[in-house]
């Protein structure tokens, strides 16, 4: 009992501290134009896409489930984009602005600090999902897969963004320039998303198979396609969900290792 108590206290303190850091970060996002600007820009992008899909005569010939799949993929894609931008600046940006020193002087350990940054990016995704939900509802109105689209976008998107946020915040902990991490994370995001432009034949080739197996975003899209367009059940989604959970675990491990490298070096 006495041996377990410090561990429990340590665990709860880690969670409490990381949530404290996350709350502070979220407030910064909300009160700063930079942080909230992405939410509004994402809403505009989703508005344009949804309006185009539902009002353009040629595009309106697309099946409703195809439209729903496009909007859900886009919302997860935008979530990743926002996660890359916010996560890239999380630690390295503080080094540049010389505010990391004061953060490290607080009684919050480095692990809690980095974990808090990841929670904050995840909170931005939740906001992104809340913004996407009305579009998913309106595009999927009358279809039988509207609810599934919402549930799967939320769960798959949360897993994918959580992994990506941990990866980017981990990189940010290692780097000394926030801008370089942001650009690097955007390059990773484009690397994950751009092969969706591949033709069908190439997607079925060995390259496409490797890309689909390696890219977490491809796993999200394949699963959304399977649920929304092909109306397949949860059992079929298990390999995709498993791959995303593995991605989250690996990214979390990377972030935990990167935490050790959080130092005051770099910046101006």
């Amino acid at each position: 009992m006495s041996a377990a108590s410090p561990a429990i206290v340590g665990k709860s303190s880690f969670l409490k501290d990381s949530l404290l850091v996350a709350t502070k970060e979220v407030k910064e996002y909300l009160y700063g134009v930079r942080g909230s600007m992405w939410a509004v820009l994402s809403a505009i992008v989703l508005s344009l896409m949804s309006y185009l899909l539902l009002t353009d005569k040629e595009l309106s010939l697309l099946d409703q489930t195809e439209m729903l799949y496009i909007v859900t993929s886009l919302s997860v894609g935008l979530g990743l984009l926002v996660a890359g931008i916010l996560g890239g600046d999380a630690v390295a940006g503080e080094k540049e602005r010389s505010t990391l020193e004061s953060a490290l002087l607080t009684p919050v350990n480095r692990g809690s600090l980095v974990a808090g940054k990841v929670w904050a990016v995840l909170a931005a995704w939740l906001l992104m999902f809340a913004i996407s939900a009305p579009y998913i509802v309106v595009v999927g109105a009358g279809s039988t897969v509207s609810a599934q689209a919402l549930i799967y976008t939320f769960s798959l998107g949360t897993l994918c963004v959580a992994g990506f946020a941990a990866l980017v915040v981990g990189l940010s902990a290692l780097a000394s320039s926030g801008r370089s991490v942001t650009l690097g994370s955007l390059a990773i995001f484009i690397g994950m998303a751009a092969p969706t432009l591949l033709g069908t034949a190439l997607q079925k080739s060995w390259f496409g198979a490797i890309y689909n197996a390696v890219s977490p975003f491809a796993q999200v899209r394949l699963s959304l396609d399977s649920v929304i367009v092909d109306k397949e059940g949860l059992l079929i989604q298990i390999p995709h969900i498993g791959a995303l959970i593995a991605f989250v675990a690996l990214a979390a491990l990377f972030a935990a290792l990167a935490t050790r490298c959080v130092s005051l070096e770099g910046g101006e």
Binding site: L30, Y31, D63, E66, L186
Partner: protein, 206 residues
């Protein structure tokens, strides 16, 4: 200042590239639907020994709306005196809409196009079925085929007429309030407090 502008331009380019990488396939798909139909279906070579299989499909016309799923049931019978192994049964679809006659690539229409029948004893029959998602409106003819290893002529089932009613998902009334409302509400919710906070700070500074 110049560097800052350069950074903003670079960031904007990356964001646009990311958005178009996601939206591109949708636009491409829309354009492809109005383009020239796919041609290039392989026709079984005549002559040689045919497939010892008989395919039967109900010839009743199938009709439904685009976006819905329909079933094409068929029965495969081994008409030979010997067993048949690893028979492959698949469906073919031909657009017979006036002016658009062409074979259709079934990729978007069916997730599982081929059915493998591991073995059929002499005279044995097996019921199979394909699920087709009706992608585009028009008049079509759908039929089942089957081949076995070593055969040079595919066994072809009866032609089944298929009518797909076009469904335009035009919904400007439904999407407009959301398309305009969400950015406005998000803008007000996020920028409002920032604006008020800065205004209050300006009062204190004075």
């Amino acid at each position: 200042m110049k560097t800052m502008k350069l950074r903003i331009a670079l960031l904007l380019a990356v964001v646009l590239l990311a958005v178009f990488s996601l939206a591109g396939p949708a636009l491409a798909q829309g354009a492809a639907q109005t383009g020239a139909p796919y041609r290039g279906q392989v026709v079984a070579a005549p002559g040689g020994h045919g497939t010892p299989l008989k395919l039967d499909t109900a010839t009743k016309k199938i009709s439904d709306t685009a976006g819905q799923y329909v079933k094409l049931p068929a029965t495969i019978t081994n008409t030979s005196n010997g067993p048949v192994k690893d028979a492959v049964a698949y469906v073919s679809l031909v657009d017979v809409t006036k002016g658009q006659q062409a074979p259709v690539d079934l990729e978007d229409w069916s997730a599982h196009r081929a059915i493998i029948v591991p073995s059929l004893a002499p005279g044995q029959s097996k019921d199979v079925s394909w699920s087709l998602r009706l992608v585009k409106g028009g008049n079509y003819t759908v039929y089942a085929n089957s081949i076995v290893r070593g055969s040079t002529r595919a066994s072809v089932g009866q032609e089944v007429p298929l009518f797909v009613k076009t469904k335009q998902n035009l919904n400007p009334g439904g999407v407009l309030p959301v398309a305009l409302g969400v950015p406005v509400v998000a803008g007000a919710a996020f920028f409002g407090p920032v604006f008020l906070r800065r205004k209050n700070l300006a009062v204190y500074e004075r």
